[in-house]
Amino acid sequence: MKHLNIVSSAYRATIEEQDDTVVWISHAMRNAGAGMDMLLRGAAVNYCVRDQKVGPVTIGGRAQKHAPDVHGQVRDFCSDVSKVYVVREDLDERAIDHRSLLQEVEFVDRNELPALLSGYDQVWHW
């Protein structure tokens, strides 16, 4: 069985969780044997921009040293068995230079989505 996780909300609680919770659960399920790809749309297309960094955060004197690395999560999710797609128009609407993106992601146009989605047994939109 093949699943597609569509991620549209971006940077949701990433400081508290030290990751994106949907990208994280996608990793966890794939590691458990799930056939799983990911589609980034909306604001989440920014996840595949290279060289993102989050500095340490200190709140009330408590320093959080292990910052979230969502970009790294997405890069590490890409593999022989899991693809990451990104919606081209959502990048363009945000003026995100395609040359600044992870090499591992694949572009998909909006009009190609029906064909892409029909290739999966279940599609989950987070």
């Binding site: 919770t21 659960i25 966890a28 399920m29 044997g33 799930a34 989950w124």
Partner: protein, 137 residues
């Protein structure tokens, strides 16, 4: 029309925060009444939906004491749905994401709630006719 028989639903919102949760519970109610088996995987704040220490309160703005206010509690809705499922001869399996429970200190849940992992979600979804994600906005 032939309906599927087993659904998995993922909830993410914490209680008393979003109307999506009440809508999702109404969907579950309707599905159970039609004999569907339902799996719920509670992720992130949703693990507090069946938290056993939820308490009703009075509401001075409404001018009602706690009994008159009859404040709805998600844990009671969930317990009711589990009871309804049993009466209908089907099942409502509720699994709380264990790490999410630990983060929130939400270990004390009503009877019938199980602790699980993303691997459990994968197994439930794979055995279901379909899966509905009710994500936090």
């Amino acid at each position: 029309m032939k309906y599927p028989r087993t659904f998995t639903i993922v909830l993410m919102d914490a209680p008393f925060e979003a109307s999506r949760t009440a809508t999702a519970l109404r969907v579950i109610d309707a599905a159970v009444r039609r004999g569907f088996a339902i799996n719920v995987f509670a992720y992130e704040g949703a693990v507090l939906l069946p938290f056993s220490h939820q308490q009703p309160h009075a509401n001075l703005v409404h001018g009602r004491d706690a009994e008159e206010e009859d404040h709805p509690l998600p844990r009671e809705w969930i317990a009711g749905l589990m009871g309804l499922a049993a009466k209908r001869g089907t099942a409502l399996h509720w699994i709380n994401c264990g790490l999410c429970v630990d983060e929130r200190g939400a270990g004390e849940a009503i009877d019938g709630v199980q602790r699980g992992t993303p691997a459990d979600l994968w197994k439930l979804a794979s055995a279901s006719d379909n899966t509905l994600i009710v994500a936090t906005a």
